[in-house]
Symmetry: C2
Subunit: 437 residues, 2 copies
C-alpha cells in the first residue's frame, strides 16, 4: 500500500489540532530513523527485520528442505502465531485446510479436544507417508501453553521417521528451549532479543512457516520496506502512520475508548486479531513511560467484518453510544468474474443485482456504510488495499506497527513492554505448584 | 446448565442495589411468563420455540432425508447462521471440516474468493456423487448478501441430480423467497413471524442444519427448557438471567461501556460472535422503549478466548482503563486423558506440568486469572458449563437470550427491533440502482 491509500477526510479532527499533534511527533520520527541505523540494538529493533537479508537467507534455506511436506503444525500463542494466521487466512481463505493445498494447523491454547484433532491429522499424514513439520515458536522459551502442547504433540510426532529433522525451533538465542533443541539436534531459527512478539511477524516467526507454505515472503518484506519510507517521512501530512496515530490519539483524548477496525473482507479477520494484540499490549498500560505515574491508559480494539457484522453490530454502531473511532480497511477483488445470474424467479427479490459481479455488490454495501457514517457524523478513516497479496499485507502490518509506536509516544507509554501480564502468570505458577487443581 | 453454575460473588454490585434492581424486574418476569402462554403471538415468541413439538417434528422429518448427504452449504448472514456456527464449532471444533465428518460451509458475506472456494467444494462432491444440501436462510427473504450468494451457488448446485429436493428454504411464511421456493418446488421450513433473527436459534433456522449434521437437537431444546425454568423464577436471587441483567445494568450505569465475554474454551469463540449480535442489536438503541427519547444507549460486547487472549489482551485488561465488566464462561473437559509426558529435556523449562493433564493446566491458568481479577478488583462473574454438549449449549444460549430481554427492560429499550440497520441498507440500494459502482 501507499500513503495515498489512506483516506482521512472524515476523521473528525480539526486541522489545527492535527498539525499540532503531527509536530509533536517529529522528534519521535527522528528517533525511529536513527534507531534503524543501529539495527537490532534498540527497542525499535523490529523495524530492521524487513531489511535483514541474512535472516531471509537462513529462513529460505531451511524452508526449502520442507517443500514436499504434507502439513505444518505450528505451536505458539499470541505474538508467536497471530501474524502467521493473519497472512495465511488473508491469502488462502479461512477454509484453507480443506482446499487443495499444504495444510497448516495452529496449536494455541491448551485444549485437549483441539490437540487431539491435530494429533489425529498428524497420524493420518504418517499413514500416508507424508511428512509433517512440527514448529515450536516461543521467544522466551518458557511460555506454558506452547511448551505443554509441544511436549504432547512431539510424542505423536516421534512416530514419524526422521522426526528430528522435521522439528523446527524458533526461539531466542540461548533460551532454555534453544538448549533443548541443541540437545535434540533439531534445526533452529533465532528471534533477535529486542524484537517483541507482537512486532515479530517479519522475523523467522512469520517468515519461516509462510515460506514453507509457499507464500512470497520477499514481496511481504518489500511491502513493509516501501511503507516504512512513507511512515518515516517528515512530511507528516503524507505520513500515514503519523496521521493515523494523531487521529487515534485525538479521539481517545476526547473520551472515545473504543477503536473499531472494520475490515471489509472476511479473510482479513485474523489481521484484526493480530491488531488486537498490537494495540492492547502496546498502549494498554498502568503506568506512563517513566513508570512513575499511574495512568491506566489504553484503547480497546474491536474487530468488525464487513458486510457480516452489519447484520450483527451495525445497530449498535449507528444507534448506540458515540464511543468509537472507526477505521475501514477495504480489499476488493477487482478481478472478480462471478456474475450474479439473471433469473426471473429471483429478479424482484433483491433488485438491481442481477448481472452485476459479487464485488460490485460488496462495493455498493461498503459505500452505503460510508455514507451512513458520514451522515451520522461518526469519525472514520479508510485504508484501501489494492490487492489481496503478500506485498499489500506486508505494507499494512508494517504501517500498523509504526503507527502504534507513534500512538504510544503521544500517549506517553512504552509500546514495547507488557508488565501486567506477569500478574496472572505468577498466580498460575503458584497453582500448578500446589496440589489442588 | 443450572442456576448454581452462575457465580457472582465478585460481581462488584452492592447487595442493596442488587435487590432493588431485582424487584424492578419482577413485573417483566410476570410479563414473559404470561407471554409464554400466548405462544407465537407476542414479541417474546422465541421463548416458545423449545416447547414446539410440531416444529421439531417438521425439522426431523425433513432432516432424515439428508442422512447420507456429504456436505451442507448454508447461505445466511447474522441471525440466520451465527447460532448454527456457534453450536457446530462448540461440538465439533473449529477445524470440523477437515475432520472425518459431514462437512458444513457457511456463505455469509459477498466475497468472490470465499464463494469460489465453496463452489469448488460443491463440484468435488458432485464428482464423487455425494449429495450436497443447499440451504438458504432469510426470514424476510430480502437480504442482499444471502440472496446474491444463493443465486450464484444455485447455479453450481443445479449440476447436481435432483437438485430441487436438495435445496431447502428456511424463511418467513409468504415471503418472496417462500414464493420462489413454491415455484421451484423445493422443500421449505418456516420461521414464525415474531421470532427475530438473533432469537431464532431454536427455530428451524438452527435446528434443521444441526439435525442434518447429526447434532442432538432434542437435548439442545431440553437444555433451553430447563434453563427457562430458572430464568422465569420469581425467586430472583436464584434466577441467573435476572441476576446477570441486574449486574450488567449496574456496571453500565456506572459508566462501564464494554462487556467482555471471556470464553475459556477456544471452540466457544462463535458463541461469542452469536452473543455480539444478541447484545449489539438488542440494547444498542438510539431511542428508548417509547421511541420518544433519544438515548444512544448500548454496551459494546467484546469476546475474549482463554487462554489465547491472555497473550494478547490481558495487558490491556489488567493495566488499562477500568471500563469493562467481564463474564467468564468455562467448559472443562474432565474426561481429558492427555497427560503431559515426563521428559527430562523439558522438565526445567515449564515446571510442575509434566504428568498432569492438559485440562489441569487450563484449570490452573483460569484460576490464576480469577485470582488476578479479584486482586485488581475488576468486576466479574462466571458461568460454569459442566460438559461440552448440546444440552449445556442450549441452556447457555437460552439463558443469554432471557438475560438480554431483562437487561433491555432495565435500560428501557426494545430488545426485539433494530431500526438503525435500515440506514445503510437504504444507501446501499440507492447505490445499486445507480450506475457508478
Amino acid at each position: 500500500m501507499k500513503h495515498d491509500q489512506f483516506h482521512w477526510e472524515h476523521a473528525g479532527i480539526p486541522k489545527r489540532l492535527l498539525s499540532t499533534l503531527l509536530k509533536k511527533l517529529s522528534p519521535e520520527i527522528d528517533k525511529v530513523k536513527k534507531a534503524l541505523k543501529k539495527k537490532y540494538e534498540t527497542a525499535y529493533a523490529s523495524l530492521s527485520l524487513p531489511h535483514d537479508t541474512k535472516q531471509l537467507r537462513a529462513v529460505e534455506t531451511l524452508a526449502k528442505k520442507y517443500k514436499k511436506a504434507g502439513a505444518l503444525v505450528v505451536v505458539g500463542i499470541g505474538g508467536s502465531d497471530l501474524g502467521i494466521i493473519a497472512i495465511v487466512e488473508a491469502l488462502r481463505g479461512k477454509e484453507h485446510n480443506v482446499m487443495d493445498k499444504k495444510e497448516i494447523y495452529f496449536a494455541e491454547t491448551v485444549d485437549p479436544f483441539s490437540i487431539e484433532q491435530i494429533q489425529s491429522k498428524m497420524k493420518e499424514h504418517q499413514k500416508k507417508k507424508e511428512k509433517v513439520v512440527l514448529i515450536i515458536i516461543s521467544k522466551s522459551g518458557g511460555t506454558t501453553e506452547p511448551l505443554v502442547n509441544f511436549q504432547v504433540l512431539l510424542k505423536t510426532h516421534k512416530n514419524q521417521k526422521n522426526w528430528k529433522s522435521h522439528t523446527v525451533f524458533i526461539t531466542g538465542k540461548g533460551s532454555k528451549l534453544s538448549q533443548a533443541a541443541d540437545k535434540l539436534d533439531c534445526p533452529q531459527l533465532e528471534i533477535p532479543p529486542l524484537v517483541g512478539g507482537r512486532y515479530s511477524v517479519f522475523s523467522a516467526v512469520g517468515l519461516f512457516p509462510l515460506a514453507v507454505l509457499g507464500v512470497d515472503v520477499r514481496a511481504l518484506l518489500k511491502g513493509a520496506r516501501d511503507v516504512q519510507q512513507d511512515c518515516l517521512s517528515k512530511k507528516t501530512s503524507k505520513n500515514p502512520a503519523a496521521l493515523g496515530a494523531a487521529i487515534q490519539f485525538h479521539h481517545n483524548r476526547k473520551g472515545l475508548n473504543i477503536f473499531n477496525l472494520f475490515l471489509f473482507n472476511p479473510n482479513l479477520e485474523h489481521v484484526g486479531k493480530w491488531y488486537r494484540q498490537l494495540m492492547g499490549e502496546s498502549v494498554g498500560k498502568e503506568f506512563n513511560r517513566t513508570g512513575k505515574k499511574r495512568v491506566h491508559t489504553g484503547i480497546t480494539p474491536i474487530v468488525s467484518i464487513g458486510s457480516t457484522d452489519l447484520h450483527s453490530m451495525a445497530q449498535l454502531y449507528f444507534g448506540g453510544p458515540r464511543d468509537k473511532y472507526t477505521q475501514f480497511i477495504t480489499l476488493h477483488d477487482h478481478a472478480d468474474k462471478i456474475k450474479i445470474p439473471k433469473e426471473k424467479i429471483f429478479a424482484d427479490i433483491v433488485e438491481d443485482v442481477q448481472g452485476k459481479t459479487v464485488t460490485d455488490v460488496m462495493n455498493a454495501i461498503e459505500k452505503g456504510v460510508h455514507t451512513t457514517y458520514k451522515k451520522l457524523k461518526l469519525p472514520h478513516t479508510k485504508i484501501e488495499l489494492e490487492k489481496r497479496d503478500s506485498y499489500n499485507l506486508g505494507g499494512l502490518l508494517q504501517l500498523k506497527m509504526i503507527e502504534m509506536i507513534y500512538l504510544a509516544f503521544l500517549l506517553d507509554v512504552n509500546p514495547f513492554d507488557q508488565p501486567n501480564v506477569e500478574l496472572y502468570k505468577r498466580e498460575t505458577k503458584k497453582i500448578l505448584k500446589g496440589r489442588n487443581l
